[in-house]
Subunit: 140 residues, 2 copies
DNA sequence: ATCGAAATGTTATGTTATTACATACGAGTT
DNA sequence: AACTCGTATGTAATAACATAACATTTCGAT
């Protein structure tokens, strides 16, 4: 449930390129936007992006934001097999900025629910929508 | 944040048809599946479904499951403007069954996070994936 | 060197969702 | 009835997101 990822493995060229793009963007990016950004590096088809994304998600390097069909580099350092638990995301519908957060109490409650209902949880998505502090104050 | 919905209003024909389908299905249904089921009633285009879905979500009668692009009738009664808080969903990846749950502790933690970060939350999506009790026991 | 697994490249297609614009319907008014 | 305003509908086209199927290449282990 805590979705630990596999030990650090060397990434392939495509995976590194995609991860690099996501790390330098400081906001979520869609698969097709990544494709466009990587055309200069030889990317030509959606699958090249989706395959890299799948792997990077599995390794825990990036997150998929299900409610906006976009991907973000994980906010936590990934030096040597970091493991962190359930991640939550607060997505600003005005400016697109996303904050990643972790809350062990939430994780705990989800585990409790799963346990008492016999549900074997493997992954989770927790996404808030609204307005970030900056946007909320500029558009009251 | 608790996403209360508007007072009960009479639904239009299209909205009633879509809601009816979702209530009789006891599992999530995609927009295009709804379209196919409603062709006998005269539905011909995706927009007819999407417009009804948008309204039903806004009224709180149904939920969108962001991680599977499907919709479900709200598990709670909707007699006269019921209001319930943040809903969570446990989605079985084996059989497709979904359990809706509410957890005030989780809601509280999300509100805390929003408050301390100045985030004005308007809606939330909490979705677990894994195996339901039945599937977990039959495929250990 | 050669074998097999994993990664990649390529084309086509499937699935989900929206834009843009035209038309119809219902309530309130004159 | 005719008028108008707001909401709901109908329709066509297209945009955006994602995968299937299959051929080819790469690369480590033998």
């Amino acid at each position: 449930m805590a979705s630990p990822h596999k030990a650090e493995e060397t990434l392939t060229r495509n995976q590194s390129l995609v991860l690099g793009q996501l790390q330098s963007a400081h906001a979520p990016v869609t698969a097709y936007a990544l494709l466009d950004k990587l055309r200069p590096q030889g990317f030509r088809a959606p699958l090249q992006v989706y395959r890299a994304l799948d792997r990077l998600v599995a390794l825990g390097h990036i997150h998929k934001l299900e409610s906006i069909n976009a991907f973000m580099a994980c906010a936590h350092a990934h030096g040597q097999g970091c493991q962190h638990g359930v991640a939550g995301f607060a997505i600003c519908d005005s400016c697109g900025q996303v904050s990643e957060f972790a809350d062990s109490a939430i994780e705990h409650r989800l585990e409790e629910w799963a346990k008492s209902n016999g549900f074997r949880a493997e992954k989770s998505a927790i996404e808030l929508h609204g307005q970030c502090a900056a946007c909320a104050s500029s558009a009251p």
